[in-house]
């Protein structure tokens, strides 16, 4: 009994694992640290996802469809009644709001020799590796406004919005969909804050400032007190000595350079 449940559990897990690999995934955060950004999302290309459906001597192409998560209640179909993939564009679906739009079309990635991610540090190879490994949705900021643009337009996404993606395998001669992945997990673009909200209040006074201010204020006070004391003692001393000098004017030498301090 127990063993049967265990086998069933493993089967379910296996199914789940298989299903997990049939969804578009975002690029590993170790490779692309800035993902997703405000208006772009970088997802991995579908390596080895369609291998079971590929037949030799036939040419295939992969289409990427993107839609806002809110559009899934309206329509999430990527093919028409004849199993042909839709040619919807960004403008037609209002940026993925009314349904999925085609964001890209590229060749089937090579499952046998995937790009070596460890080589990404090599300046000469990094361009090719990035191109083969991932696709950046929202990369092209000008194709929407360029009337001469004829290829698949991949305009920037909306900020703070959740999107879902799907890959579709299409036979290029017949133009019919052969396989598709599930819709990816919802991926949300970034949200921005206003710089007005940044608080620039410095907080508490630092210890340096308190020490300097307090000690210097005390010293200044002591100096002024010292000045008052010495002036007043000099004034009082001159009053006393003016009384004495009348009697002792013969003994004092005026031109003596050495000072004579009054004895205490």
């Amino acid at each position: 009994m127990c063993s049967r449940w265990v086998v069933l559990a493993f089967c379910c897990l296996g199914q789940l694992c298989a299903d997990q690999s049939l969804k578009p995934q975002t690029v590993a955060p170790q490779l692309a640290t800035n993902n997703p950004t405000l208006t772009t999302i970088a997802i991995e290309k579908p390596f080895c996802m369609f291998d079971s459906s590929l037949r030799p001597n036939k040419s295939y192409v992969i289409y990427l469809y993107a839609m806002k998560e809110s559009a899934s209640v309206i329509s999430s179909l990527v093919t028409d009644n004849n199993n042909k993939p839709l040619n919807s564009t960004f403008q037609q679906t209002s940026g993925g709001q009314l349904g999925p739009y085609k964001a890209a079309s590229f060749n089937v990635p090579n499952c046998a020799s995937p790009p070596k991610l460890a080589d990404v540090g090599d300046v000469n190879k990094v361009s090719d590796i990035l191109k083969q490994y991932l696709f950046r949705v929202g990369d092209d900021a000008t194709c929407l406004y360029d009337p001469n643009f004829l290829a698949v337009c991949n305009p920037p996404l909306a900020p703070d919005t959740t999107y879902r993606f799907k890959y579709v395998l299409v036979d290029s001669t017949e133009g019919i969909m052969k396989d598709q992945t599930l819709w990816s997990d919802p991926i949300k673009t970034r949200r921005v804050k206003l710089p007005l909200k940044i608080d620039t209040w410095p907080g508490r006074r630092s210890g340096d400032m308190i020490v300097i201010t307090s000690i210097l204020s005390v010293l200044m006070f002591l100096l002024l007190a010292g000045l008052l004391a010495s002036v007043s003692s000099a004034v009082m001393g001159s009053e006393d000595s003016s009384g004495e000098t009348r009697g002792m004017s013969q003994t004092i030498q005026q031109s003596e350079p050495r000072p004579q301090l009054s004895s205490e």
Binding site: L38, R136, M209
Partner: protein, 260 residues
Amino acid sequence: MAKSHDGIHILQGLLVFGNVVIGMCGIALTAECIFFVSDPHGLYPLLEATENDDIYAAAWIGIFVGFALFALSIIGIVGVIKSNKTLLLVYIILMLITYAFEMASCITAATHRDFLTPNLFLKQMLERYQKSETENNNDKWMTEGVTKTWDKLMLQKQCCGVRGPSDWQEYTSAFRVTHKDADFPWPHNCCVMDARGSPVNLDGCKLGVPGYYNSNGCYDAISGPMNTHAWGVAWFGFAILCWTFCVLLGTMFYWSRIEY
């Protein structure tokens, strides 16, 4: 009689020595403050744009106080040796005025250093860097200063943003108005540059691939020189003032005991 003469001589000697030290410190203060005012790191435009450049005001005061200390120390030496009561009184009063100015300089430098927080520079960078529509000439001047300084800082110190490149992604900014996020998630100066001054790999920089963009923030490169500036003015001035306090007290005592 001999003892009081010895006492007088010792006091004179101490006061002369004290004034010599004050004179030398005055010259050192002037030199230090001229060094800071000359802005060797080129960070003044950032302070000017925050409209809180009082640590520079403190350095300017320091230049003149240094000269004054040097001149007054010479007067002091002459006055002590000649025991001239008038000269010493002039010395004491002018020294007190100089003391007050230097005190103001130290306190200003120490206080205004506290205002230079990361958030202040972050807000200024976001609001002014590459701002396209400036309201008046003053705004334009400050914006150009901030933009040039940040560009130079990011290139030379290989840094990005105040705390990191994520500052550009977390907040909207004047830069974001004219540069779309898809092409410029952060300014191109944040990318690792090759010898010709262009990014090594622009896609790697935009995606944030390690090694193709500068991942550390510029705050250390800004706060380091500013701290040195503020603390150099504040604490050296404080040390001079403590020494001057003793010399002044000694001079006042000496002055009050001179007989004509």
